[in-house]
Subunit: 313 residues, 2 copies
């Protein structure tokens, strides 16, 4: 199948073509740009929701519930579970088949696990590209769930329109949360497992910390019990409210513009990196030897490669 | 102070100059290369130990204990606590002053919190550069501790010679650990808070998973109670054993060579990224507008910037 045909099939909503296209994004590589160009006119009409938090916080169960909620309104939904650290596609231990079993036969839901390490641009480039593919395929809501400890929660918040940070009762005090850098990326805090002791205290501590923050959007805090489906409607309302707030204040446009600018810069930088690795492989190996032997420092080595690239262009 | 003087003062072990140099690394930026060049001859003689794991796992307490252990042998020690997500230097809530109070007056210990987001190359470039600065300043053991959920545990394992992954009893089953991508980066598993119920089960589960892994170095599993100082000696022996294993099999050299190669590539790529942002700022803004308006796709925008950069070189 040539790239035009693949792009057209994705736009037509073909699930196998979409899965194949996500695999292309996962790998990065030379052919990707062409197909992304073909897809571009069909993109730009989804809303993306990032879901991050520590392992065991219940992110998968929450995502499954939110997918169910979005389906109530007949929205087309896509889920990407991104493992920023694993070099293995799909995740051997949590393949797509064991995930989201309740939606497995729903043609309005597309679910895909994705490794980002193969992509030269890493998560910061793979995530927005996956979003483009899925919205070209017709998804109206896209959930991006991070897997594992290597949350890369900042990259996720850069890549999506609303970021949910999932915490649990009893996970320690507010300082712990702040240490985690989560205050800065959360649009909405989700206190999951709210049927456990300490849920009210967790909400109160988060609220106390948020009161110290600047004006503007003050992150909502929603207590839920994802396993029982409790609090999902309230959470969905909070997501829609954050979306409305951003649209009203021109923030959604600004957020998406910043994302596009970053994406262009990433593409240019990663192409250059590929040139270093491929066109100047010999020089790079030689320079590496020199630095390891401490006859040269890394910056002078970079100078030499810069000069060689300029001559060859 | 000019850059030569700064480098010379770092090499002389001046603590204020070292702190200032780490601040330079934190910010990245144009002047950095020059000073790193000056420092280079004095680098290459430290051993670096990365400490990663979920928030609340007890990484700081463990680091403090390991510092104490290394000081028993009179080694010069440096600690960098890296927050890969925070844009704020030092961390407002966990400043250097509140960290490691027991070593605060020890002139053989240098402690510094560091944000990596300001550095164009991010953590992957900031971490090895911080290590260079600290070893130029005379540190023999360097502990790199990640802060927060955005562990970036892969980058940490890339940047150091031995990687400790800290887990706690009762944090869920082996699948959870594997989901977190931790099996791949751990040289040593530290089961901290081993005085709590479930420690033995945690060790057994980890061992079970490791038995499935390939040959070569099989990660050690050490149960400790950092708050009480229990198990620290055993852990230190495990670190030394891993160091010896790597040295014996030529793995340490290979690991450091790969690190240098990555570092050179990162410098070249980030310089190029800076060129895009600075030299082609107008074109980038214009291209961003075009992509936002969906008259152009990001790859075609990157093409235009590539062309402009080639013409201007």
């Amino acid at each position: 199948m040539n790239s035009d045909a693949l792009a057209q099939r994705v736009i037509a909503g073909d699930r196998r073509a979409t899965a194949r296209m996500i695999s292309l994004v996962e790998k990065g590589g030379a052919g990707l740009g062409r197909v992304m160009q073909e897809l571009h006119p069909a993109t730009g009409s989804s809303y993306s929701i990032g879901i991050t938090g520590a392992p065991g916080a219940g992110k998968s169960t929450l995502t499954e519930r939110l997918v169910g909620r979005a389906r109530l309104d007949n929205h087309h939904v896509a889920v990407v579970a991104i493992d920023p650290s694993s070099p293995f596609s799909g995740g051997a231990l949590l393949g797509d088949r064991v995930r989201m079993q309740s939606h497995a036969t729903d043609s309005g839901v597309f679910i895909r696990s994705m490794a980002a390490r193969g992509h030269l641009g890493g998560l910061s480039l793979a995530a927005p590209e996956a979003v483009r593919v899925l919205e070209a395929a017709g998804a109206e809501y896209i959930f991006i769930e991070t897997v594992g400890v290597g949350q890369a929660e900042v990259e996720i918040s850069d890549a999506c329109d609303t970021t949910l940070v999932v915490v649990n009762p009893g996970w320690g005090d507010a300082v712990q949360t702040a240490k985690a850098g989560l205050m800065e990326v959360a649009d909405i805090f989700v206190v999951n497992k709210a049927d456990r002791p300490g849920a009210r205290e967790a909400v109160r501590e988060l609220r106390g910390m948020l009161d110290l923050a600047d004006a503007g959007w003050k992150p909502a805090i929603v207590a839920i019990t994802a396993t029982k489906g409790e609090g999902i409607e309230e959470l969905w309302v909070a997501v829609e409210k954050h979306r409305g707030y951003q649209e009203e204040h021109g923030l959604l446009e600004a957020r998406r513009r910043a994302r596009v600018e970053r994406e262009i810069k990433d593409i240019v930088a990663e192409r250059h990196r590929a040139r270093v690795a491929v066109d100047e492989a010999e020089l790079l190996a030689c320079m590496t030897d020199e630095v390891v032997a401490r006859r040269l420092d890394p910056y002078s080595a970079a100078d030499a490669i810069d000069r060689a690239l300029n001559l060859s262009e």
